[in-house]
Symmetry: C3
Subunit: 140 residues, 3 copies
């Protein structure tokens, strides 16, 4: 069985947003109880990660770390039409993930106790972001 | 339905090469119209990324960024049999992707407007690179 | 056909461990000969990579590189309850992979000559790590 849905999420500018619940909702709207759930983001300046969802400081530290690793407005960038965060956003996306697959069992995403799925908005401004969720599996 | 093909691509040394069209060609040679398309590179010194394909400066800036992040010929490297770019190529591969999955709808890769799939050659010399494309899905 | 098994592996503290053989064993316990094999790690302070498995110096150099890129005990970290390697482990995980998919042909993982799958323990202490292997494919 194959289920495929495209969803749109609003961001509030540069930050991570947990989207585990939104992807679980797509999974639960399908009849698939066992298999794989693939999440793809249709953008090159926002990305996906799986990380700890218990302590908000993790999100703060991830953003702080990557903003020191990838500078906004680096004078070496040739690509800067959309501002100092434009090329930085593409680099941050390439160093993280455009797509992530999660195993499904008993109709649920098989995340570990502390795992959550996050959309990482890399642009400074708020954006509307499209994701496609594809679930491939069986109804047990 | 499952389609699996291995293709070989030539690189011209360290640089990104867009391979969206080559993967689309495999997809179109199958009868699958909806599902997932998985691309795997059988090497540890070349990798895959999804990034912006409208402005060539993005490719220039990505290469420039990663070559400053991962130095050729770092005296700390123990693994240097094949030259100063050998270990740097393995690190660059680990920081990016060996495999990427893209959703398929209406027989096409569901890329966003500005997204393209790139092979990133991390060695300085030209190489022949093998990729396996696996498409799993349905004919609508 | 769909096969899904969860396995547990012991680590000895911060280092990479090759797990190609353990994943091959799951594949061989299934009847699937062609398709895709997905490996997911249920943790946020250990991750997966595909890299060269011929020269152990590659593993040494990867660990040395990332420990210089992501500092233990950085005073900027707010998240440090479990010690100086806690937040560093989350960052190292985000810069590598939580899940990897490998094509399957003739009942084997289709790795290139020099490729191996590694679990990367990012905590200093030994841990028990859970992974789920999901194989989706056909019996030829």
């Amino acid at each position: 069985m194959l289920e495929q849905q495209t969803i749109t999420l609003q961001t509030n500018g540069r930050a991570t947003i947990e989207i585990t619940r939104e992807v679980e909702a797509v999974l639960q709207s399908s009849d698939i109880s066992r298999g794989l759930c693939h999440v793809f983001i249709h953008h090159t300046s926002a990305s996906l990660i799986v990380t700890e969802n218990a302590d908000d400081n993790v999100q703060h530290d991830l953003e702080n770390y990557i903003s020191r690793l990838v500078h906004n407005g680096d004078p070496a960038y040739l690509h800067d039409q959309e501002g100092p965060d434009d090329m930085a956003a593409h680099i941050r996306s390439v160093l993280t993930q455009t797509e992530i697959t999660i195993p499904v069992q008993a109709g649920r995403l098989m995340f570990g106790t502390w795992q959550g799925l996050y959309l990482w908005e890399h642009r400074l401004q708020a954006h509307s972001r499209r994701l496609t969720v594809t679930i491939n599996g069986l109804k047990d």
